[in-house]
């Protein structure tokens, strides 16, 4: 029974969503939007579970003096500061429990939550994102080693695209007459991106789409039960 009821709900909701895709008449027309709304409401409540989990896991690690435990204190303190600032003084769009004083606004320029968000959080996020450039360089170095015919092909394509997308590419092949314009590096790079690359991406997307349909049908029909903890 513990599994049958969720499976029945899944079947009914899944079948209704599929049917509503083809029926524009009421009440099917707004079904998908309504269910998306329900999902948002449930996920809004579920965020409390996430925050409790965050608190619990960090407190356990601090109390057990797990390796690097001071970092978990920093995580909890940072979390608490953001929550307190948000609830007490609110944000630029949302008022808090108490209005931000003139002195506070003069000091920070904005509300405390917005200040921390803009000057700490956004910069930390940008720092993490910028790491991507370095990782891309190291991953490319490994991926572009000509170990097999396939990786050699990848290397050649990558070099052509990289050169074609820079001014060096135009300079290197600038002397080629217009009648042989297809040999210009920027044109070769565009060709690779427009045809082989797009074709490959579309193939992956079509197959992934089929995979989504197959998985959805398995879940709706109750064949796939792993998400319920079944086999």
């Amino acid at each position: 029974m513990r599994r049958q009821i969720p499976m029945l709900i899944t079947f009914l909701v899944g079948a209704l969503i599929i049917v509503s895709e083809f029926i524009p008449h009421k009440p099917f027309n707004n079904l998908s939007t309504s269910l998306e709304g329900w999902f948002l409401i449930i996920s809004g409540f579920a965020i409390i579970l996430g925050q409790l989990s965050l608190f619990k896991v960090n407190i356990i690690k601090i109390s057990r003096k797990a390796p690097n435990w001071p970092y978990f204190i920093i995580a909890l303190v940072s979390f608490s500061i953001m929550v307190i600032c948000g609830i007490l003084w609110g944000t630029q769009q949302q008022p808090g429990l108490i209005p931000a004083s003139e002195k506070m606004l003069n000091f920070f320029g904005v509300k405390p939550f917005d200040y921390i968000f803009k000057y700490l959080f956004e910069n930390l996020s940008a720092t993490m994102f910028s790491l991507l450039a370095f990782f891309m360089a190291s991953a490319s170095y490994r991926a572009f080693r000509a170990r097999s015919p396939e990786s050699t092909l990848l290397l050649i394509a990558a070099v052509l695209v990289m050169l074609g997308r820079t001014t060096i590419g135009s300079t290197l092949t600038g002397w080629i007459p217009d009648s042989l314009g297809f040999l210009h590096l920027p044109n070769i790079a565009s060709f690779i991106m427009k045809y082989p690359n797009t074709a490959g991406q579309r193939a992956i997307m079509i197959c992934a789409g089929l995979g989504v349909i197959g998985s959805s049908l398995r879940i709706i029909l109750g064949i796939e039960r792993s998400y319920l903890g079944g086999k």
Binding site: E21, H25, A46, I48, Q51, S125, Q201
Partner: protein, 368 residues
């Protein structure tokens, strides 16, 4: 002189109105839930200005829009009630704003019970659904189905064994999207099989998640897997934990776990964006066996470059069925292959027809 010129101009203009077929029609807007009417006109492009007016009693007309001949159509969905007849006038104005000529039409709005724009989608759904159902029943009857090997999935047991031998944990990352993304569900399905192996080998697994809904589901899946493996006591509720909803905050957290815990194997299975390479490269630096899977075409190259095994697109969705080895699920995979064959045939036939100048198939697929 000026008056005579204006009269000549008006006469020419009046003649030009009759020089070509002028049509103005009103009809129910097709394939909608009612509350809208479609107005279409075919008038000379030389018409300077036109206005659309609406009435419910043919007496009091209210202006609803200023339109041009080039626009050709207009959907009126402002305060339209189903079942009520609406009367429209398309009035052609001169430069002084006087009505030169007007055309009338009327229509009643209604909601449709079937969207004819989606016939091709319905055909595809029926074909695919039938193929999947047929192969599921064939597999149930004991028909042997060939499913090609997926190395990344065959390595799961090896990775868990390696982690057990090394005394190190495994790390499972279910992507950064919520449960409404099929990739996350596919990732969680694999987590169930992986957690069962972890429980059997008495190893440990860390599952940091990015969404609260995923937290509850992943926790339940891991718990059930331990139960199925006959080791409910070994389940640690804190092995599945929430980090943050923020993309790069989550990356920082997971990277920290990889660098501190040095997992023996890392699994990135779900929906990933820019964080994919940061995670995979950090995992590579730590020396872990890495198995990744996503249907994001832009992130697959990163995983291929940095991971030992990558499940590309549909392989991610097929993984759970493949691992379960159940005839029912394997049959559905075979059905998907039929769908792939249908798509390939449609593409090839479509290309050939287009090259021959026959546009029927393309037009049908585009409009339906």
């Amino acid at each position: 002189m000026r008056v005579s010129f204006f009269i000549i101009l008006c006469i020419c203009f009046t003649f030009s109105l009759y020089a070509q077929d002028i049509t103005f029609t009103a009809a129910d807007n097709p394939n909608d839930d009612g509350g809208a009417l479609l107005l279409q006109w075919n008038v000379p492009l030389s018409y300077p200005e036109m206005i659309l007016t609406r009435s419910i009693d043919r007496k009091n007309y209210i202006e609803i829009a200023a339109v041009t001949p080039l626009l050709k159509s207009f959907i009126d969905d402002e305060n339209i009630e189903d079942g009520q007849e609406y009367f429209y006038k398309l009035s052609v104005l001169n430069i002084e704003g006087e009505t030169l000529q007007s055309f009338s039409a009327s229509a009643i709005a209604k909601a449709e019970w079937f969207n004819t724009d989606k016939i091709s989608l319905l055909i595809m759904t029926i074909l695919l659904g039938s193929a999947i159902t047929y192969f599921i029943f064939s597999a149930r009857k004991g028909k042997r189905l060939y499913i090609r090997k997926i190395s990344g999935l065959d390595t799961i047991e090896e990775a868990v064994g390696r982690a057990t031998e090394m005394g190190k944990p495994l790390l499972f990352v279910p992507g950064i999207m919520d449960l409404d993304d099929m990739q996350t569900i596919a990732g969680l399905n694999i987590l169930g099989h992986l957690a069962e192996k972890v429980a059997q080998y008495d190893s440990t697994i860390h599952v940091p998640v990015c969404r609260s809904m995923v937290l509850s589901t992943a926790k339940e899946i891991v718990k059930e897997s331990y139960l199925r493996a006959g080791r409910p006591d070994a389940f640690k509720p804190d092995s599945v934990f929430y980090l943050t909803d923020d993309q790069f905050g989550y990356v920082a957290g997971v990277d920290g776990i990889i660098l501190r815990e040095k997992p023996a194997a890392t699994f990135y299975l779900g929906a990933f964006y820019a964080e994919s390479l940061i995670l995979a490269e950090t995992g590579f630096e730590s020396g872990a066996i890495q198995i990744a899977g996503t249907a994001m075409p832009t992130q697959i190259p990163f995983f291929v470059a940095a991971c030992d095994y990558t499940l590309i697109g549909e392989e991610l969705f097929a993984a759970s069925a493949y691992l379960s080895n159940e005839p029912n699920q394997l049959g559905s995979l075979k059905g998907q292959d039929v769908g792939k064959a249908i798509i390939i045939i449609t593409l090839v036939v479509g290309v050939v027809l287009e090259m021959c100048g026959i546009h029927f198939l393309k037009d049908f697929l585009v409009t339906h």
